[in-house]
C-alpha cells in the first residue's frame, strides 16, 4: 500500500487530480491511498504519506515542505504544470511511483 499526498492552496484543485489518479491506479491494479490537503495541513499530513506532490501554483512552498519531508524521510516534488492542467492522473501517478523509486 503506497500513500500519496497532494497539496495545493486549499486542497480543491488537487482533489480533482486525486480522483483521476485513483481511476488510473485502479486500472493498473495498484494498491494506493491518495488524498489532497490545503498547504497549511501538508506538514502534519506528511507523516502519514510515502510521497508528497505539490500543485505547481504553490511551488514556492517547496523549500518549506522539503525541510519537513526531509525529517519524515519522504520524497517530494512539484507536479508538472502541463499534467496538472490536463488533470492527467496517469502521468502524475507515474511520477509519484518514480519518486518513491518503484
Amino acid at each position: 500500500m503506497k500513500r500519496i499526498l497532494l497539496a495545493c492552496s486549499a486542497g480543491m484543485s488537487t482533489s480533482l487530480l486525486v480522483s483521476k489518479m485513483k481511476e488510473s491506479a485502479e486500472a493498473k491494479g495498484y494498491e494506493v491511498e491518495i488524498w489532497a490537503v490545503a498547504q497549511d495541513k501538508a506538514p502534519s499530513e506528511m507523516e502519514k504519506a510515502d510521497v508528497l506532490l505539490i500543485g505547481p501554483q504553490m511551488r514556492f512552498m517547496k523549500k518549506k515542505f522539503a525541510k519537513v519531508a526531509d525529517e519524515v524521510g519522504i520524497p517530494l516534488d512539484v507536479i508538472d504544470p502541463v499534467a496538472y492542467g490536463r488533470v492527467d492522473g496517469e502521468a502524475v501517478l507515474n511520477k509519484a511511483f518514480e519518486l518513491m523509486g518503484e
Binding site: 480543491m12 484543485s13 497549511d40 504553490m58 492542467g85 490536463r86
Partner: protein
Amino acid sequence: MNKFMEFLENILLPIADKLNNNRYLSALRDGFMVALPLIIFGSIFVVIANFPFLDRLIGEEAFATYQDALGPASAATLSIMGMFVIVGIGYSLTKHYELEAIYGGVVALAAFLILTPQVLEGVSGVIPTASLGAQGMFLGIFTAFISAELYRFFVQKNWTIKMPAGVPDAVAKSFSALIPITLTLTAFLLVRIIFSYTPFDTVQNFIYTVIQQPLTALGSGLPATIIAVLLIQVFWFFGLHGQIIINSVFDPIWYTLNDENLQAFQAGLELPNVVTKQFIDTFLVGMGGSGMTLAVIILIFMIGRSRQLKELGKLGAPAGVFNVNEPIIFGLPIIMNPLVIIPWLLAPVVITIITYVAMSTGLVPKPAGIIVPWTTPPLLSGFLATGNAWQGAVLQAFNLLVVTLIWWPFLKILDKNYYENEKKGEGN
C-alpha cells in the same frame, strides 16, 4: 520573449517564497484561517436575519423580534472576529517556535484585552465589542506578534519554575508558563499605563489613528485595489498562486473594511466602504476563479472548435462554477502564454473599475460585510455579499458579459491555432 519571462520569474518566485514563508505573514494567514469557520457561521445568520421582503411578510414588529433572536449568532463571531484572529496568530507563531502553542494563543488574547479600552461612555467594567472587531484589528495583529515573541523570549531565557519529579505533568506545565506569561502581560500593562498619559489615551486609539486609518484609507481606494488585482494576475501568469500571496498582505485591510461595513449594515446606516474582502472575493475571484475564467469556459462552449479547448471546457466547467480554475489556468494554458496576457491583465482591472463605480454611485449596494465562502457560485454569491440584493447578482452577470467580450478575439485566435494544428496532425 522567453529570456524576459525567465528574468521575471526569477524575480517573482523569491518574492512569493518570502511572502508566503515569512513567519509573521504565515501566522497572520493561519489566524484568519482559524477565524474563518466562525466568520462564515456569523455570515450565514446575517443572511438569514436579513431575508428580503420578510419584514413585509410577517410585519415590522415580528421582524424586529426575529432579528433580535438571531443577532447573537453574528455578534459573537463575525462582529468580534479580531479576537479569534489574534488567538490564531499567537497560537501559530508559538507553534512555529515549537513551544506550548495554546499559551501563545491565550497570552496574545490577554495582552490585546489589556490594551483595549475597558470603559464605554462612562460605564466601566465593559469591553466595547467594536474594539474586538474592525477597530481593534491592527492593534490585535501587532499585539499577537509582539506578545508571542516576548513569551518565546522569556521561555527561552528559561526563567521558569522547575517542579520536582512526581508533580503531575499538567501541573508542571501550568507553572512553567507562569513566569513568561506574567512578564509578557506586565509589559503590556506598562504600555497601557504609559499611553494613558498621552493625548491618544489608549494604545488602540494610537494604532487606529496612526496606522490603521491611513492604511485602510489607502487600501480602500481604487488605485491600491487595481495594483493588488494586477499583482494577483501577474503572479498567476507565472503559475504562482497570486491570491494566496497577495492576501497575506491585504487581508488585514480588506477584512477591517469588511467589518466596518457589517457594523453599519446591522445598524441600518450607510455602508462606508466599496472595497472590502467581498469586493475581491465575490466580484473578482468569485467569477470562476482568479481572472474570472468562467467567461473563458462560456466562450469555449460558444466558439470553441479545437478538440483541445472543447476537452478543457468539459474538464474545467464543473470546477469553474465553484470558482476553482486551475484546470483552465494550467490547461489553456494561461501561464506564460503571451497570446492571453492582454485579456488576463485587462479584464480584472476593467471589472474592478466597473464594480467600484457601480457601487460608489449607489447603482448597486456595497458589500454588506457578510463573508461568502469563495467557492459559492457566481450570481448567488453576488446576491448574498450585497446583503441579499438582486442588484449584486445582476452586476456579476453584467461583469461576466464584459469579460467574455474582452476575451472573445483572443480566445478565437488561440482556438484557431489549436484547430489548425490538430488538422495538420490528422493530415500526417
